[in-house]
């Protein structure tokens, strides 16, 4: 039954993505991307990753929908039709997809108890974290201490993305406000 739910959710995910590509009214696309995030968040819950699901629901379905609506308020509401052929991008996407699927062939089966991660590293972390890090929560210890540099890099990426968005949208929005004030003669 769980497998049935998982496959149905994956099918809905694909259908949502195809619909988002096909529609050219951007508001509907924003709504579809919100649904896409909700679906993947449910998938994460079904696949036993509730922390990732929390993030996906808060960031994907919550904040980014609002951010995209804010962008829509500043730009156009319909997609410009492109006259260029999409054969080469499609080819690149298909080849990348094949390479990614090929890369998963070496991975152990989903939920397998005999993976190296389950047999070596996890047991080691459970055993040694209380002495080495002295943080009761093992996930927190791994994120903030064992892979602290990795987390630092992620924070830098998010910070850079925030600065980029501020540079692009923040200035544009203020300019629009100023033009409106000039137009009203204030």
């Amino acid at each position: 039954m769980e497998a049935f739910i998982t496959y149905t959710l994956f099918a809905m995910l694909v259908a949502t993505a195809l619909a988002a590509v096909q529609l050219n009214r951007l508001f509907a696309v924003v709504m579809l991307s919100g649904v896409f995030s909700l679906l993947s968040a449910v998938l994460f819950v079904v696949l036993d990753a509730p922390d990732v699901a929390f993030t996906e629901a808060a960031v994907g379905a919550g904040i980014s929908t609002v951010l995209m609506l804010g962008t829509l308020a500043l730009t156009s509401r319909t997609e410009k039709s492109s006259s260029r052929s999409s054969a080469i991008p499609l080819l690149v996407v298909i080849v990348t997809g094949i390479v990614l699927v090929y890369g998963t062939l070496d991975m152990p089966n989903f939920g397998s108890a005999n993976t190296p991660a389950n047999t070596h590293i996890a047991a080691q972390f459970i055993e040694k974290t209380p002495h080495q890090i002295d943080v009761p929560n093992i996930v927190t210890a791994i994120l903030a201490s064992y892979r602290g540099y990795d987390t630092l890099g992620e924070v830098v990426v998010v910070f850079t993305a925030g600065i980029g968005v501020l540079l692009l949208i923040g200035r544009l929005g203020r300019r629009g406000e100023r033009q409106k004030q000039i137009g009203r003669g204030e």
């Binding site: 739910i5 619909a19 508001f27 579809l32 919100g34 909700l38 449910v42 804010g70 308020a73």
Partner: protein, 97 residues
């Protein structure tokens, strides 16, 4: 019983997806996303009981909150054409209408 409930929720999700794709007005789509969020909350709850681990109900509660706030944000965008601080002039314009 939970199996039947799960299938019913999934069928309802599919119907909502059709409405979201077909439109025709923006309000149909907003309502569709809102109902879809409610269905995800239900599905997480049902799957939790189906697998005998209802611990994920907390996540379902969080989804209900996000769904509510998200819908408010979208409707605010409709009303004022802006998400952030609604300037006094646009509120005045709205009242004058």
């Amino acid at each position: 019983m939970f199996v039947v409930a799960a299938i019913a929720v999934i069928v309802a999700m599919l119907l909502v997806l059709v409405r979201l794709y077909a439109g025709p007005t923006l309000y149909d789509r907003v309502l569709a996303v809102n109902v879809f969020g409610t269905h995800t909350v239900l599905l997480i709850g049902v799957v939790g009981f189906l697998t005998g681990r209802p611990d994920f109900l907390d996540i379902a509660l969080l989804y209900a909150l996000i769904n509510f706030v998200g819908t408010i944000a979208v409707l605010k965008y409709f009303r004022y054409r802006a998400i952030g601080d609604v300037s006094a002039s646009s509120v005045k314009r709205e009242k004058a209408r």
